[in-house]
Amino acid sequence: MDLATLAQVLDSTLRLATPLLFACLAGLISERAGVFDIGLEGKILAAAFLAAAIAYVSGNVWLGVLAGIAVSVFMSLIHGVASITFRGNQLISGVAINFLAAGLTVVIAQNWFQQGGRTPSLTGDARMPTIDLPFAEALADVPVIGPIYGIFSGHAPLVYLAFLCVPATWFLLFRTRFGLRLRAVGENPAAVDTAGVSVIGLRFGAVAICGVLCGLAGAYLSTGLSAGFVKDMSAGRGYIALAAMIFAKWRPWHAMGAVLLFGLLEAVANRFQSIEVFGLALPVQVMQALPYILTVVILAGFVGRAIPPRAGGSPYVKEH
């Protein structure tokens, strides 16, 4: 593998990791507050569709992104009302959101665009622009440094935003009042309640942030990574993000490492149609299955014991 190919693979790793990273941080914040969210997948899908649809209709990708965020936050709040306010089962509410998104996106897309449940291809301003980092061109021909710098240059703004979200999430969780309370509410909501802070308010806050991040994941997926929405385009990324979150044991920096690993596997699968290992040609399907196989392996607990937030999954009921 020559340096140029490697640079290509790594470049694509960053892009493929971006929606995973948004979704992973979204799940992380929600679960840190004690609300399990298996509905990341559905929110990504709904956001991907609406972002592409609005971007296409308006010709402005940023309006699309906003629409994606809006629909994702709306779905988060449904999850919040069901599982926080009415103390419903968080898994069931999440699954319902996934089904809702999978069905509605296709139906509405067909109704609006008559293209078999997809949006038309996005072009021009409806597509997410890319940013060249300063001096990227000047450095391009410098050996070693040029290609390495090139990996980081020329991505969509959301890619940079995703990676900026990692330190931001860390700071929010561990250095701010909101973060302290949010972590506390995921561990022992009674401690928060008796300290005179609203458990419900905090959990809704976390769920809303989760919605914004899922919205960004979906919007990037359909306007940045691809040029338009197609049926089921989230392709299990919401679940992979959950796996990465568990792998990272609910820590932001580790989450970044985990999604980069998944991104790398996907990038390798996309770049190499078949790989020879010890003289045996692995078919492309095996490569494409790798992120999902890794997900299973991680969820089966081969990565050591991951202790989730202690109040995770259970609605708060006041008792003395």
Binding site: R177, G179, A190, A191, V192, T194, A195, G196, R310, H320
Partner: protein, 526 residues
């Protein structure tokens, strides 16, 4: 010299309390949960700078009243006055603002946070944590030196002992500048020396002018530390007394509404043949922690052997091993015949067949199937009894129901209705159902854990008498309890456990709470 000053101060306080409004005054507080009237028209005054005890049986309404005061529940009727000013307390935040701090029986701490984080949670100074942390560190240092409340600020809660965790709860309240501190059953989880330390802290706080409400069912603590005491019974406030003018007997009577015996009346034990012998009992749990370290003892017919110790020092495991619920290393003999401690012969059914009965520590988890009827619960474990099974394919439900009704009668279970689900009985009556099941089969050896945990004083008296009767009938009883008073009054012989070891053995009539307390804290014999 000191007495003179003491007197002077007392007169001073007496004089000032005439003008100073009470720290807390409740007027006509009522609260119902559905048909149950938890608090009925309760009025109480708590003088500023005093320690005020509230006693009452389980379900008397103490916790409900305090929850209203802390904004957990809204009262149906009544008014709250703090320092003479009418105050609405719709939520905990309002309670904190009114200067009320609460130390719950079950701590409200985030286990994997540090002490510092727990203290500032909800009382942060700004959106960023840095300044709050720095300030809290200083305040904690000050409080530690003022009130003997030393805790390492950077320690994780889960690494702290229960006593230290409780200090963190008190620190939380003081950090919020609480003037009124409510403690709900604070000593239930403490060793006697930790409890003494707590009382020193409380007296120190009182000297600083803080008002303290102490909810407890331990009359000895009330007598030791309070200035005044109020008694609740069935949702009503039945009396308030100056502690100096009352006695444990009077308080117990007020709590129950009739005369009760605080001391168990029993004759000297007449130990017979050895029933149980245990040697080198060792248990390592799944985490690799050694829970029982080479335990050895014997138990004879017609005697009660009490195992004293703070919860979590191996007593529970010992009971479980002997009851066949857990496998362990070591040797045991029942009436001279080997008793298997591991393998297929080690299970609850085999133990019952060997005439070993077991009243588990946790009656909700192990003693009863809560949604099942009382009669079903009475048969559990003895369901293969031929009397209940007239033929191999039919169980005679009617026979069990009749049997249960008779047992309920003998054990004074109220209501005596075998068709009621177990969860429909009060704690004391649930415990009587379990005891009736285990005792009525006439075991040679009764293993009994926490027989009166969460049980009313009246029922305690009954249960204690039954255990003594069983002993006098010639059974051997192994009693595990974290209530030192119970151990002292029931046992003939006492073993103290600490950290999976037996610290020593004492005859019950030749020791006292102080000596046992030291052994429970791990002090070696002197």
């Amino acid at each position: 010299m000191t007495t003179v000053t003491d007197q002077a101060t007392r007169q001073e306080t007496a004089a000032s309390s005439a003008q100073v409004p009470p720290a807390i005054e409740l007027r006509g507080i009522s609260k119902a949960f559905g048909p149950v009237q938890a608090n009925k028209n309760i009025s109480i005054k708590v003088a500023r700078g005093s320690i005020h005890g509230i006693v009452g049986e389980n379900g008397a309404g103490k916790s409900t009243l305090m929850s209203i005061l802390y904004g957990f529940y809204k009262a149906d009727a009544g008014e709250v006055y703090i320092n003479g000013k009418r105050t609405d307390i719709p939520d905990s935040l309002a309670a904190i603002r009114a200067g009320i701090g609460m130390v719950f029986q079950h701590f409200k701490l985030v286990e994997n946070f540090t002490v510092l984080e727990n203290v500032i949670l909800g009382a942060e100074d700004s959106a960023l944590l840095g300044p709050s942390r720095r300030r809290a560190r200083g305040v904690l240092k000050q409080l530690a030196s003022d009130f003997e409340l030393e805790v390492e600020p950077d320690a994780l809660i889960e690494e702290l002992s229960v006593g230290h965790q409780q200090r963190v709860e008190i620190l939380k309240a003081l950090y919020r500048e609480a003037d009124i501190l409510i403690l709900d059953e604070p000593t239930g989880v403490l060793t006697p020396s930790e409890a003494d330390h707590l009382f020193r802290i409380l007296r120190g706080l009182k000297e600083q002018g803080k008002t303290i409400i102490l909810i407890t069912h331990k009359l000895r603590e009330i007598m030791d530390v309070t200035d005044e005491v109020s008694v609740m019974r069935r949702g009503e406030m039945v009396a308030t007394r100056k502690t100096a003018d009352t006695s444990p007997t009077e308080l117990a009577e007020l709590m129950v509404g009739r005369k009760v015996l605080l001391r168990v009346e029993k004759t000297k034990a007449q130990p017979g043949d050895e029933v149980l012998r245990v040697e080198g009992l060792r248990l390592v749990d799944a985490q690799g922690v050694e829970r029982l370290r080479k335990i050895g003892f014997n138990l004879r017919a017609g005697e009660i052997l009490g195992i004293a110790g703070v919860a979590g020092n191996g007593q529970s495991e010992l009971l479980e091993v002997l009851a066949g619920l857990r496998e362990a290393e070591g040797k045991a003999w029942l009436r001279g015949a080997p008793l298997p401690l591991s393998g297929p012969e080690c299970n609850g059914q085999a133990r019952r067949a060997a005439r070993i009965a077991h009243v588990p520590e946790d009656r909700h988890r192990r003693g009863l199937v809560l949604p099942f009827h009382a009669w079903e619960n009475t048969a559990l474990g003895y369901h293969n009894d031929p009397r209940y099974n007239p033929s191999p394919w039919r169980m005679d439900g009617a026979a069990i129901v009749a049997d249960t009704a008779a047992k309920m009668e003998r054990f004074d279970v109220r209501p005596p209705n075998p068709q009621l689900p177990a969860e429909g009985f009060s704690g004391g009556n649930q415990q009587k159902i379990v005891l009736a099941r285990e005792i009525e089969y006439g075991p040679d050896l009764l293993l009994v854990g926490q027989p009166t945990r969460g049980v009313d004083i009246g029922a305690i008296e009954f249960i204690h008498q039954r255990l003594i009767q069983l002993r006098d009938a010639g059974a051997a009883i192994l009693l595990v309890s974290v209530e030192l008073d119970e151990i002292l009054s029931l046992s003939d012989r006492i073993l103290v456990m600490f950290d999976g070891r037996i610290m020593g053995e004492r005859m019950a009539d030749a020791t006292d709470a102080k000596e046992l307390g030291l052994m429970m804290a791990g002090m070696t014999e002197t």
